[in-house]
C-alpha cells in the first residue's frame, strides 16, 4: 500500500479537537512542516502532547489552534522563553496540563502497552502530583509489599503522532539516520495514527538492503510526506542544525503584538508550500549555513 501523500493531504485528515502528539525535543527534530500546515488549515481546539518542545508548540498557539498543552517543558533554551506559549498560558487562553518528561513517557507507555498505569518514582515530592489529584491521571500509591511510594501514570490516548525523520519508502518504512535520538517512538507507540515527514524518499530496495536501520515499520505509519528541511527552524541531527536567526527574529517580533502578527502571517504562514517557506527563510544560503553548523 502506497502511504505517500502531501503534508496538506495528511493534515486534512486531522479533525478539530484531536489530540496531536509532536515529536522532537526542544530545539531538535520537531515536525514543523506538519505544524505549519495545521495552522494554515486553521485547526481548532487541539490537545497538543509534546514531551519537551519549543517552536512547534509556539506556532500552534500563535495560530489559535490549541485548547490544551500536555507537556513537560516548552522553551527556546538559551534563546529565551517561548513567547506565545508564555503569553497564552499567562492570559488563560491556553490550558496547560503539566508533567515531567518521565511522567509523560510513562503515561504514553501505559497507553501503548494497554496497562491501567505504569509506575515510576519520578515526581515524588514535587508539586506536579497535587496538580493532578482531581483528574487522577497520575497518582501517588504505596506498594503493599514494600511500603515504597511510587507514582501511577495512567493512559494518555493520542489520536495522531507527527514526527520528522530522514527517509521513508513508498510503503511507509521509516528510517531515522543514523538512529533515533529523541523519544519519538514513545508517541508513535501510543498513537492511533502516525504521520511522518521525511527529508527524502528512498526505494523499498534500499530499506531491504539494511533492515537493521529501519526505525518504524510500515504498519506503524499511516502516512508519509516529503518535506525537505522539514524540521526547520529546529535541527535534524546529523544533517542540519537549528537556525538561530529565525529564533531570534521570531522572539524579537513577539515583543510587539502587531509586529508579531505581521511576522507570523507573512514569514511563517505566507509561503504557499513548505518549499516556498524554506526559500523565503533563506533558501540555499540558509541551508548551507545550518548544514555547516551541524557538520
Amino acid at each position: 500500500m502506497d502511504k505517500r501523500a502531501s503534508v496538506e493531504q495528511l493534515v486534512e485528515t486531522i479533525p478539530d479537537g484531536a489530540t496531536v502528539a509532536l515529536g522532537g525535543l526542544s530545539m531538535n527534530s520537531a515536525p514543523m512542516a506538519y505544524v505549519r500546515e495545521i495552522v494554515r488549515q486553521e485547526k481548532r481546539d487541539l490537545t497538543v502532547v509534546a514531551i519537551v518542545a519549543g517552536m512547534s508548540v509556539d506556532w500552534l498557539i500563535a495560530g489559535g489552534c490549541v485548547k490544551k498543552i500536555v507537556s513537560g517543558l516548552v522553551s527556546f533554551e538559551g534563546l529565551g522563553l517561548a513567547p506565545m506559549f508564555r503569553m497564552g498560558v499567562q492570559s488563560g487562553r491556553v490550558e496547560i496540563e503539566e508533567y515531567s518528561e518521565d511522567l509523560l513517557i510513562c503515561r504514553l507507555r501505559a497507553q501503548a502497552w494497554n496497562l491501567p498505569f505504569v509506575p515510576t518514582k519520578a515526581g515524588l515530592g514535587t508539586d506536579l502530583l497535587p496538580l493532578h489529584e482531581q483528574t487522577g491521571t497520575i497518582r501517588v500509591e504505596v506498594d503493599g509489599a514494600t511500603g515504597e511510594h511510587y507514582v501511577a501514570c495512567t493512559r494518555l490516548p493520542v489520536d495522531v503522532a507527527l514526527v520528522h525523520a530522514h527517509s521513508a519508502d513508498e510503503l511507509g518504512n521509516v528510517r531515522v539516520d543514523p538512529k533515533l535520538i529523541w523519544m519519538d517512538n514513545e508517541i508513535v507507540n501510543a498513537a492511533e495514527r502516525t504521520f511522518v515527514s521525511v527529508e527524502r524518499y528512498v526505494n523499498h530496495s534500499d530499506v531491504v538492503a539494511e533492515p537493521h536501520r529501519t526505525t518504524y515499520p510500515q504498519f506503524m505509519v499511516s502516512g508519509v510526506a516529503l518535506a525537505e528541511i522539514g524540521a526547520y527552524p529546529t535541527s535534524c541531527f546529523p544533517e542540519y542544525s537549528h537556525h538561530n536567526s529565525f529564533f531570534q527574529a521570531y522572539s524579537a517580533a513577539a515583543s510587539a503584538p502587531e509586529e508579531f502578527k505581521t511576522f507570523f502571517a507573512d514569514r511563517v504562514l505566507g509561503p504557499e508550500t513548505w518549499d516556498d517557506f524554506i526559500k523565503s527563510s533563506g533558501g540555499d544560503e540558509m541551508i548551507t549555513e545550518i548544514r555547516r553548523l551541524s557538520a
Binding site: 538559551g78 515531567s100 535541527s235
Partner: protein, 265 residues
C-alpha cells in the same frame, strides 16, 4: 563580563566552574540538561585535572564526549563530539539513572529554596501566573533518582533564593530533615555553587549553610541576597578555594575557549 575575583586572578564564572569541578570525584558519572554551562565546564575541567575517569554524557546522550569547544546550547549536538556512545534509548537511560549508574546531576531554577528544591514552572500562582516559565522538564524525574545532586545559580539574589517556591518543579531535600528518605529517594543535594558563595546543607535540617565565601563577599552580603535564613557553620567560614593556574589555563584554553559559560550571566 562577570566581575573579577579579588586576588584570585580570575572572574566569578571561572571561580564557580572551579568550585563545581573540585566537588566532582573520580567516580562521578554525570550528564547534563539544557542551559547548563557551569556544570558542563565543571565536568570537563574535573576530567582534565583530578578526575580522569569521570563519566559525562553530553546532553544526557553523548557519553564521554570531548568537544573542542562548548557551543551556544548544552543540548546541541555540537557538544557530542568525540563521544564513545550516543545513548538515546529512554528505556536504557532511565535504567542508568535509576540504578545510580549515573550518580550525579546538576540543576538550577528561577527560584530555589533553603532545602535545595527548585522552581522552573511559574512565578506567581500556578493558575494565574505572573510569569509562565518553561516547566520542569526532567527535573522532577532526575531529582528523585540521582543520589548526588548539585545546584548552581549565577544570579544570587532574593528573587532567586526564596523562602517559599511558587512551584516545586524538582525536589532537593524536600521539606528538609528525612523527607527524601521517607519518600524512598536516594541521596540529595550536596552543594549549591552561586556567584557569591558555596552552600552545603546542614546534616540534620538539610537547609543551606554557607560552606565558603567568594573573596570580597561577606556573610552579610550573602544573607542580604538570600530570601531565607542562611545557616552559618561553627568556626571560621573559609574562602572558596583559589583556582590553580593550571585549572584556569585548562578552562580558558581547552574546556571553554569561547567563554560559552558567560551565557549564564
Amino acid at each position: 563580563m562577570t566581575p573579577e575575583v579579588e586576588g584570585y586572578g580570575c572572574t566569578v564564572d571561572e571561580l564557580m566552574v572551579v568550585a563545581f569541578s573540585r566537588a566532582m570525584d573520580n567516580d562521578t558519572r554525570a550528564f547534563n540538561g539544557a542551559v547548563s554551562f557551569i556544570p558542563v565546564c565543571g565536568y570537563l575541567l574535573a576530567r582534565r585535572t583530578h578526575a580522569p575517569n569521570l563519566v559525562w554524557a553530553a546532553a544526557s546522550i553523548a557519553i564521554d564526549a570531548n568537544p573542542v569547544a562548548i557551543p551556544e546550547s548544552t543540548l546541541s549536538d555540537a557538544l557530542w563530539e568525540g563521544a564513545s556512545m550516543l545513548s538515546t534509548s529512554p528505556h536504557d537511560f532511565w535504567s542508568y539513572a535509576s540504578g545510580a549508574r549515573y550518580n550525579t546531576f546538576a540543576f538550577r531554577g528561577a527560584q530555589m529554596d533553603a532545602c535545595g528544591n527548585v522552581n522552573n514552572t511559574v512565578i506567581g500562582p500556578y493558575d494565574k501566573p505572573k510569569v509562565r516559565l518553561p516547566g520542569g522538564g526532567g527535573m522532577a524525574d532526575l531529582s528523585t533518582m540521582i543520589p548526588k545532586i548539585f545546584l548552581w545559580n549565577t544570579t544570587h539574589n532574593v528573587r532567586t533564593f526564596v523562602e517559599k517556591l511558587d512551584f516545586r518543579s524538582g525536589i532537593g531535600w524536600g521539606d528538609g530533615g528525612d523527607h527524601r528518605e521517607q519518600l524512598g529517594l536516594p541521596g540529595g543535594p550536596q552543594l549549591c555553587v552561586t556567584n557569591l558563595c558555596v552552600f552545603d546543607f546542614h546534616p540534620d535540617s538539610r537547609r543551606m549553610r554557607v560552606a565558603s565565601l567568594h573573596p570580597g563577599v561577606s556573610i552579610g552580603d550573602v544573607q542580604e541576597a538570600t530570601g531565607f535564613e542562611v545557616l552559618i557553620p561553627d568556626g571560621d567560614i573559609p574562602l572558596t578555594a583559589k583556582p590553580t593556574e593550571e585549572e584556569l589555563r585548562i578552562l580558558r584554553e581547552e574546556v571553554d575557549p569561547t567563554s560559552a559559560r558567560l551565557r549564564e550571566f
